[in-house]
């Protein structure tokens, strides 16, 4: 009935009531701290702007229709904040690529006389698959996927 037998049974000095109370307090304090951190951290991250910009645009519907891009011509469009180029090939296909030259990021254009994509800055040429074929560009243009729905053109990144 008295607490004495209990103390006898639990003879380990580290298990005294004071020690257990401190342990329970520490546990509660840590849990409360964790809870506060779990609330504050996402709020802080939400309020502070990220170090890098958000992921790039995945898909855009072009502000012009198929009729605005005759065969063997090209047109620059806005893909997120970056320039893209839509090419209507002499074979009648629509293809789209990033319009930033892979050399020094100049905006490329379509050369109707050559049926090539061309960068005027350093005379870089890309074929209609976006491959760098002449001049200093070190790698191909990023290719986008083009889907034509009626007269609308939808360009997206990836398959």
């Amino acid at each position: 009935m008295s607490p004495t037998p209990k103390r006898d049974l639990m003879s380990n000095p580290s298990s005294s009531p004071n020690t257990r109370r401190r342990f329970v307090n520490w546990l509660l304090g840590t849990s409360a701290g964790g809870l506060v951190a779990a609330v504050i951290y996402p709020v802080t991250r939400y309020l502070l702007p990220p170090e890098v910009t958000e992921s790039a645009t995945a898909s855009v519907t072009l502000p012009f229709t198929v009729n605005d891009v005759p065969v063997n011509s090209g047109k620059i469009f806005k893909f997120g904040s970056l320039p893209g180029i839509l090419v209507h090939t002499p074979q009648g296909e629509f293809r789209a690529f990033s319009a930033s030259c892979t050399h020094l990021a100049c905006i490329v254009q379509y050369r109707e006389d050559l049926s090539h994509i061309w960068c005027a800055c350093h005379n870089g040429h890309f074929d209609l698959n976006g491959r760098n074929i002449i001049g200093p560009p070190p790698k191909p243009l990023e290719a986008f996927t083009v889907r034509v729905s009626g007269e609308q053109i939808i360009v997206s990144r990836g398959a």
Binding site: T53, K78, A99, A105, I107, A120, C121, H122, G135, P136
Partner: protein, 420 residues
């Protein structure tokens, strides 16, 4: 006399009449090959090594054997097979190499059977090179011949990364002779080309960025026709890749003056082997500029150089400011994608203005720089607007949050008052 005549005829037949030895080599594979069995068993490394090395050679892969280059009869052992009467030529060297290699490699009809795309003018080009001229005119046997660059018995196609003439290995191959000061002592040319080239932007592009269109030795000097670019056509060499700058330069007043003075166009400002990324500091009359080597501040050319530098610097700075503003606005969640899209035009204008510097005319640079400055100014204005709007929203949020907090405190106080 009769023996000599027969020997001469056999040798002539090997080099001229018989033509390439591919069919002979193919048949020889079925017969005993004493070249391989004897040389493979020799203990003299110099004589035995070719047997093992040749297994990896492109000619072995196409069915050619020793006899294709060395002549003789591999079906006969010992010196019987190595009889000059049977066309044996031993180890060809010097001008004889041109005949041995050129026998197949200058024959378009023959080469078409193995590699239709391979050129067949290597020997003709070689004869026009500094190496070929010294070999044929001065009998200088220290100069490079076919096997100096294409090591005998271990020849691989240029597309093979292990080949001595793969783009990544060409500089090292040339430097075997050209970096050897003892070997080059008699020619009075520097031997630090490799050391300098390996510090150049071209080598970085080739070796680190994997851009195999970046030039190595043969792209500027030629390969079989290797020679230093002449003063009046160095621009054509650089212009193979840097065509826009070459066109500007060719139409500029500097082109004719440089030719008249006998100084190399591009190399005068950019150097040759140790070419670095061209920065704007080369332009103008300040420290580090190349214009100031000839022009002084305040004089005609110096004024134009300084003015071009001001335009380029202004555009670069304006682009940087606009880009920074738009990035801050974008990171804060503001919609500025149209302005960032428009700013791409300023980057294009900056690169075009830098290229136009090679016209050495302020009008050419200003045409692009002014266009870029307008674009950058419009983008910067949009960035300021976006950041202003952001500030307005934040102030509004702070004020409204404060009001809400005050209201909550007021409500709590009121409840306590009622409870009391």
């Amino acid at each position: 006399m009769k023996v000599i005549t027969l020997t001469g005829l056999a040798t002539a037949a090997l080099f001229l009449g018989m033509g390439p030895g591919a069919p002979t080599a193919a048949r020889a594979q079925d017969a005993p090959n004493y070249c391989v069995s004897c040389h493979g068993a020799l203990t003299v490394e110099r004589l035995a090594a070719p047997v093992a090395r040749f297994a990896q050679d492109v000619h072995a892969a196409k069915g050619f054997g020793c006899v294709a280059c060395h002549g003789g009869d591999p079906s006969l052992a010992g010196f019987t097979g190595m009889d000059p009467a049977k066309g044996f030529v031993g180890k060809p060297a010097g001008p004889q190499l041109l005949q041995v290699c050129g026998r197949c490699h200058s024959d378009a009809g023959f080469m078409r059977r193995y590699n239709p795309a391979l050129r067949v003018d290597q020997v003709a080009e070689y004869r026009s090179s500094v190496h070929g001229q010294r070999l044929t005119l001065y009998r200088d046997t220290l100069v490079a011949t076919c096997t100096s660059c294409h090591p005998a018995h271990a020849i691989r196609p240029a597309s093979d990364p292990q080949s001595s003439v793969h783009p990544l290995n060409v500089a090292r191959t040339c430097s075997v002779c050209h970096a050897d000061s003892t070997h080059m002592a008699g020619y009075r040319i520097p031997t630090n080309q490799l050391e300098r080239y390996e510090q150049s932007v071209h080598w970085v592009a080739l070796s680190e960025r994997g851009d195999q269109s970046a030039p190595t030795c043969n792209d500027c000097h030629g390969n079989h026709g290797a020679a230093p670019p002449g003063v009046d056509w160095v621009g054509n060499v650089c212009g193979q890749c840097h065509s826009v700058m070459a066109d500007y330069f060719a139409a500029s007043p500097h082109s004719a003056v440089f030719t008249r003075l006998g100084v190399p166009g591009c190399a005068l400002c950019h150097g040759n082997h140790q070419i670095q990324t061209a920065s704007d500091t080369l332009l103008g009359v300040g420290e580090g500029s190349v214009c100031s080597r000839c022009h002084v501040e305040g004089e005609g050319g110096g004024i134009v150089a300084a003015a071009m530098r001001v335009r380029v610097d202004s555009l670069r700075a304006a682009h940087g400011v606009a880009d920074s503003l738009l990035q801050r606005a974008e990171r804060a969640g503001m919609e500025v994608s149209q302005a960032r899209f428009d700013l791409s035009g300023a980057q294009t204008a900056l690169v075009q203005a830098q290229a136009a510097v090679h016209a050495f005319s302020l009008d050419s640079v200003a045409q692009h720089a002014d266009e870029g400055l307008q674009i950058a100014a419009a983008a910067a204005e949009r960035g300021h607007e976006a950041l202003g709007e952001l500030r307005f929203r934040r102030i509004g949020l702070t004020v409204s949050t404060g009001l809400i907090l005050l209201l909550i405190i007021g409500v709590i106080l009121k409840i306590r008052q009622i409870e009391a």
